[in-house]
């Protein structure tokens, strides 16, 4: 191995993603520096790192968001570059600028690009200017005649909303031109009544939308490639819980179009490093730009599994100025990969976060399986951080195999001591609508009843009770441990 361009890199993150980045750093022969709040001094990412710096903050999260402190740490530890992971400061333009200003390399795009894509309006305008489809809309107006004319030109179905709106008031779906004028009038008068503001606007209404995103890599001087798409339609509380690559049943022409659109956006922005362009895809095949995430994505492993690439390594190489690791024609994809986000939450109570202690952890192993985590026995799961505990990523020759393997692996996975969504995820993957790839962002609410945990039958209940009974030490001692005469005279502690 030739000498890496960076000798030491700080990973400005925690949990599974910090461990995952360190794995690549190790492989590349680069030393790693972890940061941690005092509450996490024994965390896996701290133990894994070559060096670790304690950061301070009133709350653990505030420490990970403290730009000055983290940059100062990085400087003191003499790192060459900083990898932000995802979340925390990863899409903070000020952080990227501060790292650069301090003479280190930020493993990600320039601060200007982060700022451009971080603002919804500027990102949308930039996308539109560069030929990337955005959902057509009519800006807020109280001139209803003008509004109707403009709205007609967008096409149907349309969603009419109150400019000042919220809570579904003044919202109306219009499916044909004939109904438009009346719907606009009603929406406007409702808006006036509820919000004291009669202005309405309209945008294309996407029915049963799918969330499709494209992994891109850019070299910062106008060259960009894509690593194909991912589908992340299965969401709860507006957050993804199952992602896969490639997207199922996507006509190849449409796939090419979406991927080309993402590459075009990245190239136009002189995008540097790894990024993700997110789209909403309608049942009619129309797709619209949603946003661009200027960082490593949680679900990047599914892309790695189908392309065989290490995206973190690509990020480090690009940041070190080595350019794109390969050309578009060299990017190949095969098979299918699925990621399940294991979260400390209760699917039966609207996915509210749960806390607890990791009492027992058993992870299945297979060459087709990645279990990305930073869990340890005895670890407290608190409400300090995001409830995502781990990611279970499985691949197979095709989607069916990836589903089967994922369900099997989820069944073999045991994480006891905190309530998780593991069983729910297995149930979801096994649902006919998921197997048939009838996916859209409302999947979980559409199938709520079928996805609810079923009642235990009598036999299963007896098995659970017997297994638990024999787990209580005093009860078990009564059954197996106590000497015969003592037990014979009977009773329990009597």
């Amino acid at each position: 191995m030739s000498d890496p361009l960076f000798k030491k890199v700080m990973v400005a993150n925690r949990g599974e993603i910090a461990c995952r980045i360190m794995r690549t750093l190790e492989e590349m022969g680069i030393a790693s520096v972890a940061i941690h709040h005092v509450t996490e001094s024994k965390a896996r990412h701290v133990q894994r790192a070559d060096e670790a710096a304690e950061i301070h903050g009133e709350t653990p999260v505030s420490a990970y968001l403290d730009i000055d402190q983290i940059v100062d740490c990085a400087r003191r530890f003499g790192v060459d570059a900083v990898h932000p992971g995802y979340g925390f400061l990863s899409e903070n333009a000020k952080f990227a600028a501060a790292v650069t200003k301090a003479g280190m390399t930020f493993i990600g795009p320039d601060a200007e690009t982060i700022a451009l894509m971080g603002d919804k309006i500027s990102a949308r305008n930039f996308a539109e200017e560069n030929g990337v489809a955005v959902a057509p809309s009519v800006m807020p107006t109280d001139n209803l005649d003008d509004f109707v004319e403009k709205a007609k030109s967008i096409g149907f179905p349309l969603l009419i909303k109150a400019a000042a709106g919220g809570g579904g008031k003044g919202m109306n779906i219009v499916r044909e031109a004939a109904a438009l004028a009346e719907a606009a009038r009603i929406a406007s008068s409702e808006a006036q009544r509820y919000f004291g503001d009669g202005r309405v606007y309209a945008e294309t209404f996407v029915e049963r939308p799918r969330h499709i995103e494209v992994q891109v890599l850019g070299d910062g001087v106008g060259n960009a490639i894509h690593l194909f798409e991912r589908e992340c339609s299965v969401q709860r509380r507006f957050q993804k819980i199952i992602e896969e690559a490639p997207a199922a049943n996507l006509p190849s022409g449409l796939r090419d179009e979406i991927c080309a659109s993402a590459t075009r956006l990245a190239a136009a922005a002189n995008y540097k490093n790894a990024g993700t362009v997110e789209y909403i895809l309608g049942a009619d095949g129309r797709f619209f730009f949603l946003e661009m995430n200027t960082r490593l994505q949680v679900e990047h492993p599914v892309t790695e599994m189908i392309t065989g690439m290490d995206i973190v390594r690509a990020q480090i190489d690009i940041a070190a100025g080595m350019g794109l690791p390969l050309s578009q024609s060299e990017v190949r994809a095969s098979g299918h990969a699925i990621e399940c986000r294991i979260c400390a939450e209760n699917p039966e109570q609207d996915f509210l976060p749960e806390t607890g202690v990791v009492r027992y952890l058993s992870v299945p192993e297979a060459e087709w399986l990645r279990f990305e985590n930073a869990l340890a026995h005895g670890q407290k799961i608190t409400a300090d951080f995001d409830p995502m505990l781990a990611k279970l990523v499985a691949c197979g020759p095709d989607r069916e195999a990836a589903i089967e393997r994922s369900i099997h692996a989820l069944g073999e996975l045991a994480l006891l001591g905190v309530k998780t969504n593991i069983d729910y995820l297995a149930c979801l993957l096994d649902h006919a609508a998921f197997r048939n790839a009838q996916l859209h962002t409302g999947f979980i609410s559409e199938h709520r009843t079928e996805l609810a945990a079923s009642e235990l039958d009598e036999t299963e209940r007896a098995q659970v009770l017997a297994a638990a009974f024999l787990g209580f030490r005093e009860f078990r001692d009564l059954v197996v441990g106590t000497p015969e005469p003592h037990a014979a005279i009977g009773g329990w502690r009597n």
């Binding site: 058993s362 659970v464 009770l465 787990g471 059954v479």
Partner: protein
């Protein structure tokens, strides 16, 4: 000998009918015979009945057992007859929680005169609501948990005025 376990908000009675040569438990009124009991403690174990082999994971979490069996995970609590109310041992002044849980409602206030058996506090644990009653006649000295607050097993939730103080 019978014991009470809580699963999904319901209480079940388990009795040991015979220990040898094979364990027979009466669970919720039905007899079950087990030829192998699996290992003790946390981990992956298996139980055997005459016709079935049951593979499961189990861990102790505070005063509960967490059991993962046929792809589902369950928390099983127990009601320990010896920690309930006055039987907790030691102080006759302290009303202790028989299991970890949360306070649903409080039926008394400090200074109230209560008689033995009067409901003092309703708690919820493992989705099961239980009323904790006064273990003797007396005066409520202190309520240590407010509605919505959580507690661990054996934590004191209500104190009665000490009888010696009164004397």
């Amino acid at each position: 000998m019978s014991f009470r376990l809580i699963l999904e908000g319901k209480e079940y009675e388990i009795a040991i009918l015979r220990r040898r040569p094979q364990l027979i438990l009466r669970i919720d009124g039905i007899e079950h015979e087990f030829s192998e009991l699996g290992g003790a403690g946390d981990g992956r174990h298996d139980l055997k009945t005459a016709t079935r082999h049951i593979d499961f994971f189990r861990a102790t979490d505070n005063d509960r057992q967490v059991v993962r069996l046929s792809g589902r995970t369950f928390e099983v609590g127990r009601i320990d007859p010896f920690s309930e109310g006055a039987d907790a041992g030691g102080s006759q002044d302290a009303l202790r929680a028989p299991m970890p849980g949360v306070v649903v409602s409080i039926h008394c206030k400090e200074g109230d005169q209560v008689t033995r058996g009067a409901p003092l506090i309703t708690i919820e644990s493992m989705k099961l609501q239980t009323v904790l009653a006064a273990m003797r006649d007396g005066t409520v000295a202190q309520i240590l948990r407010a509605e919505g607050e959580t507690f661990e097993k054996d934590e004191i939730v209500v104190m009665l005025e000490s009888e010696t103080e009164k004397a």
